[in-house]
């Protein structure tokens, strides 16, 4: 077992434990804080996968913007009595069964996968970051989805401002 495997197991444990706390903990502020721990674990996985740009974007966009937005929303809609009652609806055993079924199904598919599962990653080319940038702006590759994503972000921003606006 080499160092990268140890790091993988530690960050996987961080991800799974904090994700379980996100969906079970009663206080929503704590759930949002545990979500930050999960996102940080995923950023460590991106570093292990040698996708440095995505690791930075994960920390800046996910932790810096999305998680903070969750914390703001929780604080804006907080009601004390909501922390006392059960946080799950009456169908939670069904939900547990459905998600366990999904886990078993995905694991079954992964086991019977055509891709070789013991495959080891090939060494990364020197200019992989430059290749990513080229792929994002080259008309032969992904410039259209990239621009559509920017339009989507603008539409979402206008929509969010309009929906949350106090009209009185």
């Amino acid at each position: 077992m080499d160092a990268s495997q140890v790091i993988f197991i530690l960050s996987a444990a961080l991800i799974l434990v904090s994700a379980l706390l996100v969906v079970t903990v009663r206080n929503l502020i704590h759930a949002a804080l545990w979500l930050i721990a999960t996102l940080f674990g995923v950023a460590i996985l991106y570093v292990l996968l040698e996708a440095g740009f995505l690791a930075v974007v994960q920390v800046v966009v996910y932790i810096g913007a999305i998680a903070i937005m969750f914390i703001f929303a929780v604080m804006l809609t907080r009601r004390d009595l909501l922390d006392k009652v059960p946080q799950t609806n009456e169908n939670w055993p069904v939900a547990l069964g459905v998600s366990a079924l999904a886990l078993v199904g995905i694991a079954f598919i992964v086991r019977g996968f055509v891709f070789s599962l013991d495959r080891i990653a090939a060494p990364l080319p020197e200019n992989s970051l430059q290749m990513l940038g080229d792929a994002l702006i080259s008309p032969a590759a992904y410039v259209l989805p990239f621009e559509v994503a920017s339009v989507l972000l603008l539409a979402a921003m206008i929509g969010a401002v309009y929906v949350a606006m106090n009209k009185k």
């Binding site: 996987a12 991800i15 996100v22 996102l39 996708a51 974007v57 547990l96 992964v110 891709f115 539409a155």
Partner: protein, 102 residues
Amino acid sequence: MIPLSWYLYLSAMLFAIGLYGVLARKNAIAILLGVELMLNAVNINLVAFWRYGDLAQMAGQVFAIIVFAVAASEVAVGLSLVISVYRRRNTVVANELDLMKW
């Protein structure tokens, strides 16, 4: 080195946890937290397949970036809806939002 299957099993587990959160939680914000967990599981898969597949193809990373953008817009619109609903009906419990129920 880490085999590909480790990433796939981890992301399957993270996806299942997020699915449980979406289905079982009462609070609308907590449901969105579960959606975020599921999107992260998908992203781990995309980047792992990029790393272990053909490295000349950047599709995995590009798709992960687009998932980031979609997640950000989803959270912005979702949370503003929650805040708007809270302002009008004074609740964030998904069960009580039954205005459109026949």
